[in-house]
Symmetry: C2
Subunit: 458 residues, 2 copies
DNA sequence: GGGTATTTGTCCGTATGTATG
DNA sequence: TCATACATACGGACAAATACC
């Protein structure tokens, strides 16, 4: 620590070493510096404070004899606990490791056996070896090489048609939505979202003072008539990965939504979360590429494709918003890591993202059918089991029986993590669990819920 | 490319290979796929589309004979230019390298000879070798280990008093301000900022519908009386690094601002940009630590301390805002890279950030005095030269003579980048230029501006 | 894993100012 | 006035622990 906050007065009559002693003592007593913490070395502090080493040494000596700190030769001075015992050394002060389930059907991770960590590491390393890149701020809009790579990738994988100029990079969807809200400032009254809504996006709209209208949808998604009636000029849709509904918005409905946009002059925000990850059927192309008239803003990301910890997303602006954006771009700092942007650009350009996508599709196809099969066997008689394809999970809909929260609790005692949902629903994600753990995981779940208090599974 | 966007209809009477041919042709003609680009292999595309290899081959054949694409045995099919020539291969399509000045007195980079890239690389490498960390999303508030490290660091270096719970990580100041604006939604009418303002922050407030009042300040910074009169409940101040003013807000004024907050129940947002980088005198501790009554929100960052390309910043919430934030935290995804967060945590905890800080202070002290000395010699007679200490730059104030823009142009022709400012001001940053380049850089500048059309330097 | 450079507590000689006799 | 003692402050030298490659 630099302890720059210490303020001493040379003229105060009081000896300097005593002033220092007092300040350090009160800091220790008030808990501002913690037991076990290392104090700055005598040399360092003397330099910082512009004092002689002896002065510091005297102050430290005083604290030593009074039992506040402990001198460890050639290592440093360390703060003791109030009881005078030596505090834990920093390395020993390890956090209590949060409980890790043996079988993780959560939705917050990807399977480490499938993640392409090796290639990612290689690319990051390569970028870090380019000092010219690292010592400079990045471009506001995102690195050009990545925007070009995404232009090509999004066209090939999703049919998104755009130039690199339309692509804006950001650290996930939210920062990009803030920029969008800024562009729309004052010109848009409300944004329509399909029930049950999408908190992460709604939060952004709320923060920017834009009203959110939740519209009930049908099996095919948001209804254009409802949209029309709501009077909203902007609609936020997640056509590929709908909350609580396994099927994406079908082509026909997409066309209807595009018609709504064309007729009313509205804007469609297409959040294509996991859009490329459809594996049982061919993915439905993005609406952005189907639209003839520039009324779709496309949002894409990579958390489930590459690594959840890599927060890089992008949006494709409609041409009509481009001049407005470019004028304002300098006022928005880029949020995504420059190193990760450049690494991702290479990763995409070298075709590895695409290879990874193919790999994952196969893996998820296998995992999902195995999991569906096992769950049908185990709980088919007492629950309705439905595959949520692109959200990479399966929901069990129980009628009666313990609450989802209780079921999740029971599962935890058997080392299984599942996600409790509303209305008797329990969700099991399969992105994060290795293939080989699925069968034992379901067995453990069966034990946890069996003899089921609510269901005759035999 | 995956070419998932291709949509064929089995029932349409039209042969499949012709449908495919048409789609590819129009894609090539519309420029959606670029000359030189490799088409997917026959095997791959046949798998993607669920068709026979022959179908694809026929379509490709057709495109070949019509000169749209070119078959390269054992390599693949490549798109030709409209003229029938082979397009440049992707690797050859290198970007025009943006002009790099020989002597960079810009403010957007740090000196690569001072940047601690080696240590940073080591820490990043270490993190990447921990798959468990990388395959999981991070915590919304930021990694705990980093928040703890910053709690200790900010106390030692800046006198900020807080718990790890109060620390929120983000990809720079802007994402953090959005969160703050969300917390204040509706409860705050306007934010006061000292003239000449700070566009990056104002943009966020504007996006969130919060009015910005620019208050003229005096030499010591924002005036409490003006603040009082404005009626604003929130004030945004940059006490360490004031735009166009070399000196930070002095202790007395800080106390007065704190008094304003205490008396009116207002909130001070303390953006401590480069606060730790004061090198000529001891840094003034942060207001956050001086305040007895929890009315300061502290903002810190690392771009100039570590690497500009690493966008990690943090804010320290006042206790009173904590419950509100914690309730809303799950709705804000973390924006900073998890790998960089964990690497930074280790970097800080191992004391290397502090060592780097010391190193940089020395370097900047040397650089600034050298630059000031040389500029005085060269332009002392025709410009007022003032050191902006923590912004790490020097401003030359010319009275008369060419416009700053013209001066910057002249400099560019001699390979020197400087930053034109308003009102006859030209700014020279010294963070990004190596020590040894300063003297020749100033000489080049002297040549560029000499024989000065405006100033007798002899 | 081992060799080297740096960091660090400790010890020691010195200088200055003040009070005492 | 001088000698002595003491408190305070400064910086050089040494050897062990640590960090780094």
């Amino acid at each position: 620590m630099t302890y720059d906050y210490i303020q001493l007065e040379k003229e105060s009559g009081q000896p300097l070493y005593l002033q220092l002693y007092e300040q350090l003592k009160s800091a220790a007593q008030s808990g501002s510096i913690h037991p076990g913490q290392k104090l700055p070395s005598i040399r360092r502090l003397s330099e910082d404070l512009g004092l002689s080493r002896t002065t510091i040494e005297n102050a430290y000596q005083q604290l030593c004899v009074e039992g506040y700190i402990d001198a460890q030769p050639q290592r440093g001075y360390f703060v003791l606990t109030s009881g005078g015992k030596r505090g834990v050394r920093p390395e020993e002060a390890v956090h209590p490791i949060p409980w890790q389930p043996r079988y993780n059907f959560g939705t917050d991770a990807v399977d480490s056996t499938c993640a392409d960590l090796k290639a990612w590491r290689r690319h990051i390393r390569e970028i870090l070896n380019r000092p010219q890149a690292m010592v400079r701020y990045g471009e506001h809009q995102g690195e050009l090489s990545l925007r070009e790579a995404l232009r090509d990738y999004s066209y090939g994988a999703r049919g998104v048609v755009c130039s690199a100029e339309q692509v804006v990079i950001g650290a996930g969807t939210q920062p990009l939505l803030y920029i969008l809200c800024g562009l729309m400032q004052g010109q848009v009254g409300a944004v329509a979202i399909e029930e049950p809504g999408f908190p992460q996006a709604e939060q952004v709209f709320a923060d920017c003072g834009i009203e959110v209208l939740r519209l009930p949808g049908d099996d095919s998604g948001m209804r254009p008539e409802a949209l029309q009636q709501s009077g909203a000029k902007v609609a936020y849709v997640t056509p590929s990965s709908r909350e609580g509904n396994g099927s994406p918005i079908p082509l026909l409905r997409r066309q209807e939504l595009l018609n709504w946009a064309a007729q009313t002059g509205g804007l469609l925000i297409e959040d294509d979360y996991n859009g490329e990850l459809r594996y049982r059927a061919r993915p439905i192309p993005a609406m952005q590429g189907m639209a003839a008239d520039d009324r779709v803003l496309y949002l894409g990301s990579f958390s489930k494709l590459l690594l959840p910890s890599v927060r890089v997303g992008y949006m494709v602006l409609p041409q009509r918003l481009l001049p407005l954006y470019l004028a304002r771009a300098p006022r928005y700092n880029q949020t995504a890591s420059k190193a990760e942007q450049l690494a991702l650009a290479d990763y995409v350009k070298s075709g590895q993202l695409e290879r990874q996508l193919r790999r994952l599709r196969k893996v998820y196809a296998q995992k999902s059918s195995l999991l569906m099969h096992l769950l049908q066997e185990a709980f088919g008689k007492c629950a309705q089991i439905s595959l949520q394809e692109t959200p990479l999970c399966v929901t069990l809909q129980f009628h009666g029986g313990p609450s989802p929260a209780r079921l999740a609790e029971l599962a935890e005692t058997y080392g299984v993590r599942v996600c409790p949902g509303p209305e008797g629903k329990v969700t099991l994600g399969f992105a994060g669990i290795p293939m080989g753990d699925i069968a034992p995981g379901v067995h453990a779940l069966q034990k946890a819920w069996n003899p089921p208090e609510f269901c005759i599974s035999g």
